[in-house]
């Protein structure tokens, strides 16, 4: 098995303690840093698919994301002063009035693993804060809004409307959370919807590449 494949296998298995050493060995074997990174991104896609299919659960996804971040720490110095394979910036947050963060955090990890630079605004984020974050950050490609409560769905709508009315361009808005459906997402003017964290990453990549 090549070292990159070993890295991939250990990311999928969530072995955070083993991945940094294997990444070093993969570099020593002559692999390019960007290829190792791509291998880890592919692994996280596998993890996301297995999560979507109900074959993996939240702890496994968290461990895989942690393993990947440990691997990325090793690669980071090699990417300094050169353009990485970043897909752009993703602003993420749970909408105003809603303090749920588990789903949002999972989505953040998966979108980050797919190659975006994440800006996590946390929970209870007002529409104005979302707009401000788009203004304050460079190369924003995706704004992801999360909400779990039926009562905060109206805030999700306000957020999408505020982003669309801001005059800012170059980004797409995706929404998700327990009460949100594809129909609801379309009805409030969102550009995309995903039913779970794995699918959210796929949707973010798809929209950013359009």
């Amino acid at each position: 098995m090549s070292k990159i494949n070993e890295v991939k296998a250990m990311v999928e298995a969530g072995k955070a303690r083993l991945v940094p050493g294997l990444v070093q060995e993969a570099l020593a074997e002559g692999n390019a840093a960007k290829d190792i990174l791509q291998g880890m991104v592919d692994s996280m896609r596998v993890v996301g698919d297995l999560f979507s299919a109900g074959e993996l659960f939240v702890p496994e996804m968290l461990m895989a994301a942690k393993a990947m971040s440990k691997g990325v720490e090793v690669l980071k110095p090699l990417f300094e002063d050169q353009s990485t394979s970043s897909l752009g910036t993703c602003i993420i947050g749970t909408v105003e009035g809603d303090l749920h963060d588990i789903g949002k955090n999972l989505v953040s990890m998966m979108i980050g693993s797919a190659g975006f630079d994440m800006v996590d605004l946390g929970v209870d984020v007002t529409p104005a804060k979302f707009v401000e974050a788009v203004k304050d950050n460079e190369n924003v490609k995706i704004v992801a809004c999360s909400g779990l409560l039926t009562t905060t769905m109206t805030k999700m709508q306000e957020t999408v409307q505020a982003l669309k009315a801001s005059g800012l361009t170059g980004f797409e808005v995706i929404v998700g959370g327990a009460p949100v459906s594809a129909e609801y997402a379309a009805s409030i003017g969102a550009d995309g919807f995903a039913p779970d964290a794995g699918s959210a990453a796929v949707k973010a990549v798809e929209l950013a590449k359009n």
């Binding site: 969530g14 303090l99 039926t150 009562t151 905060t152």
Partner: protein, 325 residues
């Protein structure tokens, strides 16, 4: 006509109920018992474990706050340093109101019911955040076993106090084990970490006169039903439609009953209507049938978030009784 209690027992024992059980009608809650503090709308409080809860005004519930400043358990390997179980009140004064209330209940008609929350799983993530708690199951399993044992011992001590003072007939026990689509952890992990705790807790209640264990988890948890049966749950309340409740009734009905199948998120929202409620109630009653099933909002209590929804659900259930019994 059967009493509420008789009708419930006929329903969950596969006998001859004379009507659908109307949601929580068989439980008479004694909410005066000393226990955990919960925030009211608009409040931020710190409970007896030191966990900070915030309930934003106008929203549907309180949530633990887990930024660095507020997280109680900052390092699972040092849980003994951070986690201190609160003292369970023992004075007669502390229990007087609950005892007085329980004494007014006709126990032939209803079950004297105590509300216990949060459960052991929820306690782990209330103390340290969901991410930390779930990763600790992999990274520090020994410490997690120790913490879970500690939380279980506290629950058992609290259970003893409830039994000694109130002699409850029913325990309504909250512990959310999943999202709407999946259990939070795998069945294997649940079996290792949480099944032993719940076997102890529910066996203790059963051995001390509690007739009925109702466990609340408004989530997907179909993959955990065999464990619910093993730990002694009589009724799983909060079963969401994502579990395929009719199939669960068919597969496990003689061993456990299912209460829910009317997803609160679908009927209990600002623009709710009696028609939406009636449609969902009819679907649930027709698909799940008359035995081992109690039509109910998935919400964990005898109320609704928006005024009128709970009562409207009861009215729709009465209508289905007229049609199906």
């Amino acid at each position: 006509m059967l009493t509420k209690k008789q009708n419930l027992l006929e329903t969950i024992k596969g006998g001859n109920p004379d009507r659908f059980v109307k949601q929580y009608e068989f439980m008479h809650f004694i909410m005066e018992a000393p226990g955990g503090r919960f925030p009211q709308p608009g409040e931020t409080i710190k409970n007896d474990w030191g966990i900070t809860f915030k309930w934003p005004e106008g929203q549907l519930g309180g949530f633990p706050v887990h930024d660095d400043e507020h997280k109680v358990l900052k390092d699972i390997t040092e849980w003994k340093k951070y986690v201190k179980a609160p003292v369970i009140p023992t004075s007669d004064e502390a229990w007087a109101a609950a005892i007085a209330h329980a004494n007014t209940v006709d126990r032939n008609e209803e079950f004297v019911t105590l509300f216990v929350a949060p459960g052991v799983f929820e306690m782990t993530h209330h103390l340290m955040s969901m991410e930390d708690a779930l990763m600790a199951l992999y990274e520090e399993p020994e410490a997690m076993h120790e913490l879970i044992d500690y939380l279980t011992e506290h629950e058992l001590a609290y259970a003893k106090a409830l039994i000694d003072h109130i002699h409850p007939d029913c325990i309504f026990h909250h512990d959310d084990w999943g999202s709407q689509k999946s259990s939070f952890i795998s069945p294997a992990m649940f079996e290792e970490f949480f099944l032993p705790a719940y076997k102890k807790i529910y066996a203790f209640y059963k051995a001390n006169g509690v007739e009925l264990i109702v466990h609340h988890s408004d989530s997907y948890a179909a993959n955990l039903v065999p464990f619910m049966i093993e730990m002694g749950v009589d009724i799983w309340q909060g079963v969401m439609t994502t579990n395929n409740t009719p199939e669960l009734v068919k597969q496990y009905g003689s061993q456990i009953s299912f209460m829910g199948d009317i997803d609160s998120g679908v009927v209990d929202f600002p623009a709710w209507t009696p028609e939406i409620v009636a449609k969902e109630v009819e679907r649930a009653c027709r698909n799940c049938g008359k035995l081992y099933f109690i039509p109910c909002l998935t919400q964990g209590g005898n109320w609704s978030s928006f005024p009128g929804v709970y009562d409207s659900t009861n009215e729709a259930i009465e209508k289905m009784t007229k049609e199906m019994f």
